[in-house]
């Protein structure tokens, strides 16, 4: 049997907490908040590891230290422009997109066999080129087809 306290007077006039609003916001925005948190963590870890300050980062980004502070809270809906700026300034990769563009670039690196490209997929074209089949030739073929 537990001795239970009566309802305390101190709670009878309690104000409304903001916590529920925060939970509801977090639930509704969970996906991008996860990314924002991870970016903030990587950015902060990097500037700490490099012995830099938030003020230094603000100067490099051309924004206010207040904005950097806000960004490092991990709750800022960052633009692609800001993310790529951060990548350049810090020399780190923050986002990687598995887009057709990237696959295309990767395929260029393995030098596909230009004459047989036809309707086949890029992956099936991974054959060694001869010296004469240069990257420029491949580009010309792409634009022409």
């Amino acid at each position: 049997m537990k001795k239970t306290a009566p309802f305390p007077d101190a709670l009878k006039n309690a104000k409304k907490s903001n916590w529920l609003n925060q939970v509801e916001f977090d639930l509704a925005n969970e996906d991008w908040l996860d990314l924002s948190f991870e970016i903030a963590l990587r950015v902060y870890s990097k500037i700490k590891a490099d012995g830099k300050s938030k003020k230094w980062l603000a100067e490099q980004l051309g924004c206010s230290p207040q904005y950097v502070g806000k960004m490092l809270k991990g709750k800022e809906n960052l633009t692609l422009q800001t993310i790529t700026k951060l990548e350049h300034v810090l020399g780190i990769n923050l986002i990687t997109l598995a887009t057709p563009t990237q696959e295309f670039k990767l395929d260029l690196d393995v030098k596909p066999n230009v004459p047989n490209i036809g309707n086949l997929t890029m992956d099936s074209q991974r054959q060694e080129l001869t010296e004469a089949e240069s990257y420029t030739d491949y580009q010309s073929y792409q634009f022409a087809s």
Partner: protein, 184 residues
């Protein structure tokens, strides 16, 4: 250290106190802190020896930050669900989440309680005063990397806060009668 206000998170179920000098009530402050990569990174950097003392294995600071936030997200959802369910009279109630802080607390009025993060070997702690089976007053929280609360300053502060909150709630009830509830 003084309590300056009380806040209702969910009426008749979940409350939180606010201490002087703090911008938010303790529940809001707790989850803001556990969702703040900068604060968490600084905390684990300052407690790196405790983090890698062996109890939690070897964890990098970045992973410790990630683990904390993921656990906090789960705990936040569970706290929200139980408070709502308890209020509607369905099966769940907050007593399923909170346990007495020590064995000596069991059965006492204004019991000092703690809730763990829901993962195995979680370091998250939420501290509260239990009013009844589904009424709790949050008065602090911690990331507890050591076995006891008595050898780290931030944990001793939490013990003080629990005591202050308990006294605050008791002194406002001097004219009321206690009653007993059956433990099922």
């Amino acid at each position: 250290m003084v309590i300056v206000d009380t806040f209702a998170v969910i009426d008749q179920a979940l409350y939180a106190v606010k201490f002087e000098g703090e911008g938010e009530d303790e529940l809001d402050r707790t989850f803001n802190q556990w969702n703040d990569p900068l604060q968490l990174h600084d905390f684990f950097s300052n407690h790196i020896d405790d983090l890698n003392s062996g109890f939690f294995g070897t964890v990098s600071i970045q992973d410790a930050v990630r683990i904390t936030r993921e656990e906090a997200k789960v705990l936040q959802k569970e706290l929200y669900r139980l408070a709502k369910e308890g209020l509607s009279g369905s099966a769940g109630n907050l007593s399923q989440l909170f346990k007495p802080l020590t064995k000596g607390e069991i059965g006492s009025a204004y019991e000092r309680d703690k809730a763990y993060g829901l993962n195995h070997k979680s370091w998250l702690r939420l501290y509260a005063i239990r009013i009844n089976v589904n009424v709790f007053v949050i008065c602090g929280s911690a990331i507890k990397l050591t076995e006891t609360m008595n050898d780290r300053e931030h944990l001793m502060t939490e013990l003080k806060k629990l005591e202050i909150a308990r006294n605050y709630l008791i002194t406002d009830d001097t004219h009321s009668d206690f009653f007993y509830e059956l433990s099922l």
